[in-house]
Symmetry: C2
Amino acid sequence: MISKIDDVARRAGVSTATVSRVINNKTGFTEDTRRKVLRVIDELGYKPNAIARGLVSQTTNTIGVLMPCLSSRFSFELLKGIEKVAHSKNYSVIICNTDRNGERTLNYIQTLSEKRVDGILFISEWLKDEYGEILEKLNIPVALVATYTDKYPFPYVRVDDRQASYSAVSYLIGRGHRKIGMISGNPEDRIAGKPRIAGYRQALEDAGIELLEARIAYGDFHFTSGSAAMEELMQRDLGLTAVFAASDEMAAGAMAYLHSKRIPLPDSMSIIGYDDTLDAEMTFPALTTVRQPIEKMGEWAMDLLLKSDRRENIVLRHSISVRDSVTDV
Amino acid sequence: MISKIDDVARRAGVSTATVSRVINNKTGFTEDTRRKVLRVIDELGYKPNAIARGLVSQTTNTIGVLMPCLSSRFSFELLKGIEKVAHSKNYSVIICNTDRNGERTLNYIQTLSEKRVDGILFISEWLKDEYGEILEKLNIPVALVATYTDKYPFPYVRVDDRQASYSAVSYLIGRGHRKIGMISGNPEDRIAGKPRIAGYRQALEDAGIELLEARIAYGDFHFTSGSAAMEELMQRDLGLTAVFAASDEMAAGAMAYLHSKRIPLPDSMSIIGYDDTLDAEMTFPALTTVRQPIEKMGEWAMDLLLKSDRRENIVLRHSISVRDSVTDV
DNA sequence: TTTCGTTAAGTAAGCGCTTACGTAATAATA
DNA sequence: TATTATTACGTAAGCGCTTACTTAACGAAA
């Protein structure tokens, strides 16, 4: 049914070696043979079997991406960047939704390694030893995105979460806010949790503002949890004038809650988010937020992964995307 | 370095055949041998080479997904459903962003076929002959999602776009609207363009409302185009009281434009969307929209793809998710 | 003419598995 | 005890390619 290299060889009256040579643009054949072989390939609709090729070449032109979640705009903007350069360099990408679940992650790492991918991208989650040790043993390129490590020899690309968070809160302070709440992700999260809280604290401290634990509520980076956290904050009756949410989605959730309580935005409450995904344009008022160049991170990450001299780390710059959700107090 | 089945065999004092048998849960070995082999596998950190396996078994436990776009929530909710059942059945998924581009699509089909994937999911785009013919020749399972065909023997899962659109517009009419605009996708789009326009027309006609071409503006399903289309509509000064947008994202864009013009929502303009992604909860007022069970579609699609008796097509039911963006007139 | 150097092309050995087939040992049956 | 069925393995032939090595042919240099 499906033709193989021998079929081509036979029909073209050459050896499989020669067919292989023309397919792979090697040397060792005349222009005449080349044309003949190519014609037969076309006639037969021959497609080289990448599996067989992979077996001998020990390379698959495939990479795997371990993502903690498939539900946030952050994830897909990243994926978009990754896929973009992958496709341009003729790589395929296997997506792995780990759901932030250890077992699933390990499971996926095993699968990727069995499938002999040429590289693995580890996204946006703390690299536990449990993962790091295995990944290191795999002996294939690994790069980290929106996270980092100083224990394992993997390059990373990310922005400095602490500083970015510091900027966000400083921005609010600059606009005259003093009673500033925070809707954080999981405080145990060493990537998007703890550092962003640290930035928040630092900004307050540097401005001589007292830190009150009650001003922080916790969510899971997603919309619904943002609403819930905002509700908590309001019920604590803290007289907040502004809130920093650790993701655009939570910021949107917070706004939804405030709208439901007919609290005028941004007049009675300023909100600043984090990520600058499209979500930030969808809210009303449009969300002022910390911008990280997400798609670019994906592109850089692929570059890091595919490059051989991949020792460098990349820390991208963040900025504040000013829209309409923050007002002066 | 990396150990292979021979290493395991030698060290366990058995043949490779026996190792293979225990790995694959076949019969033909004693409990003792099994344990011994398993122990050695563990000691050596042996991982079966899926490429070599694939070469002999002619199966890769991998499927490919051709997506027209990686930027919409629709895509990702779908992908989530797909990944979910794929992972549960031990399949990997390769994502292919075709960008609605013929060359890229063909290119990806070629790659997937060379990589000998066990199936292909074709998402949300009209199946041109250019694609259909090649896919058919590939002789591997193909299923369509959020699109259909009656020319090629591929099963599909989708909702009836025409009917769904009809429902949306009828809902507006039921709320008393008569001057109803539409923000459509590309009218050439045989899946999400034309049928939704047809549904809009039909609903108006059945209600005895005159159809005015000027009441339709066109976008590309994305946010920015939604704003632009809304602007056009407003500048035509048609006295519309409601607009049906063919995607939540465009609806959000439309709302953003209206907000920027300080037009009170929903009082001066009702908006209804299409999809019911998370986007619909982020807007203010929260978007009333046509619900399609997107994630479920992804799950069903994988089921269709992996099942052998895959002759059936699935048309899922839509509904209206009522939120706050539509008011009585 | 003889001798090299080049180049086109073929031969065949793997890549790391699975599996059909063969064989020896043991258990069951007569 | 002899015969047969059953089970536990081992042997070796591929799966569809790439590539090191070899061979043949041809032109250039001596």
